[in-house]
């Protein structure tokens, strides 16, 4: 056998080095410190939720792929509209619902801090969410006429995401920085 054997793993004698100045995993990064950032990332608390409002969170449902499949009748049969999740304790003390407390299945409107509106969307009163946030499955609340099945079903988290934040170090965007107010949908 000719040639020099090049080790490809630790067992063959490969030296494990990282592409950092110290050639190690850096919890404290001098490069970040030199650039004027926190060398050891510090926790930056998110903005406080304004009174009477909820932080808008969004996520996915397993049967739907982004907003593309909500118009599919077969998949739409499994989930034809999204629901706004609200904590049961928070729902009991919700402003504007003193006379008739919010129940699962009631239709509500969502308005965000900039006046963007979406709905009507069904409420889901649940223990599976914290009290200062509400949750929507993404991909609903379409307004396009061509989406004959999914149009006007549920609320759009995209329409309510009028603000975002940018991570100053690596540029990632955070979109769960919007706050919504819940009001009963007019019948």
């Amino acid at each position: 056998m000719k040639g020099k054997i090049v080790p490809v793993c630790e067992e063959e004698g490969l030296e494990l080095l990282f592409g950092t100045p110290s050639e190690k995993i850096e919890l404290y990064s001098q490069a970040l410190a030199d650039a004027g950032f926190d060398p050891l990332p510090e926790f930056t608390p998110p903005d406080e939720v304004p009174p009477g409002m909820f932080r808008l969170l969004s996520g996915r449902a397993p049967m739907h792929t982004f907003g593309r499949t909500t118009n599919n009748r077969v998949l739409g049969g499994l989930m034809s509209e999204n629901e706004v999740w609200i904590n049961a304790r928070a729902a009991r003390s919700l402003a504007g619902f003193e006379e008739k407390p919010l129940k699962s299945g009631d239709y509500v409107m969502l308005v965000n801090q900039d006046g963007a509106k979406s709905g009507p969307v069904k409420a889901k009163v649940t223990e599976r969410i914290r009290g200062d946030a509400v949750y929507l499955v993404h991909g609903f609340g379409h307004t396009a006429k061509g989406l004959s099945f999914s149009r006007n079903r549920g609320a759009s988290d995209s329409a309510l995401t009028t603000r975002f934040k940018v991570d100053p170090v690596m540029g990632g965007t955070g979109m769960n920085v919007n706050f919504v107010r819940i009001s009963r949908a007019e019948a």
Binding site: P62, R73, G77, L78, A88, R89, E127, R128, R130, G131
Partner: protein
């Protein structure tokens, strides 16, 4: 009961710890069995216990339990609902008048009325099983939360799972002796 002695005893085992509630089983069943738009032969149940943040949750994929002591069979006035191969409960569509006595008798809500006038439900995919395949829901499940097989065969998946894990039945007090086991 007359029908209890089968050489083969088909059963399904559903692992509530593995299930994520994606409903692939529902879709696989609809596609395989041509289930109409508003009918379902299987469905997902999500149960939450406790108060935030101290919660526990159970997700179940439910369908006809193919009970050994099936109230739908004893309540069917025409003999359409009957015990068949492997102890499964099947419906003879030609005999079914759509009277819904079985729908009222079933404690699990497993049956629906097909738009063509007969009552329909899970068949344990007997058209596939008799050819050596498993059910559509079992083959579709991405987390392998479902198993199907012969309880009388000690080397089957269902027998092994029930032997090694803790399981429960739904509404055992109904006396239906269901054949869909839930691992907890």
């Amino acid at each position: 009961m007359l029908f209890k002695n089968y050489r083969t005893r088909y059963a399904m085992v559903m692992d509530t710890r593995r299930c994520v509630g994606c409903q692939t089983c529902v879709l696989a069943c609809k596609a395989e069995n041509g289930v109409p738009v508003n009918g379902y032969r299987d469905w997902i149940v999500t149960e939450t216990k406790g108060e935030f943040p101290h919660l526990s949750m159970e997700i179940r994929s439910e369908r006809c339990m193919h009970c050994t002591n099936a109230p739908c069979v004893t309540n069917c006035p025409t003999g359409a609902s009957h015990f068949a191969k492997g102890g499964t409960v099947q419906i003879d569509r030609a005999l079914c008048t759509g009277c819904k006595a079985c729908v009222a008798a079933c404690p699990y809500g497993a049956r629906y009325v097909h738009p063509d006038g007969y009552v329909d439900k899970c068949s344990f995919c007997m058209h596939r099983v008799t050819k050596g395949a498993s059910t559509a829901c079992v083959e579709g499940c991405p987390t392998k939360a479902l198993a199907f097989g012969d309880l009388n065969d000690p080397s089957s998946d269902v027998a092994r799972l029930l032997h090694s894990r803790t399981s429960k039945l739904l509404s055992p007090e109904e006396g239906t002796e269901p054949n869909l086991y839930f691992l907890v």
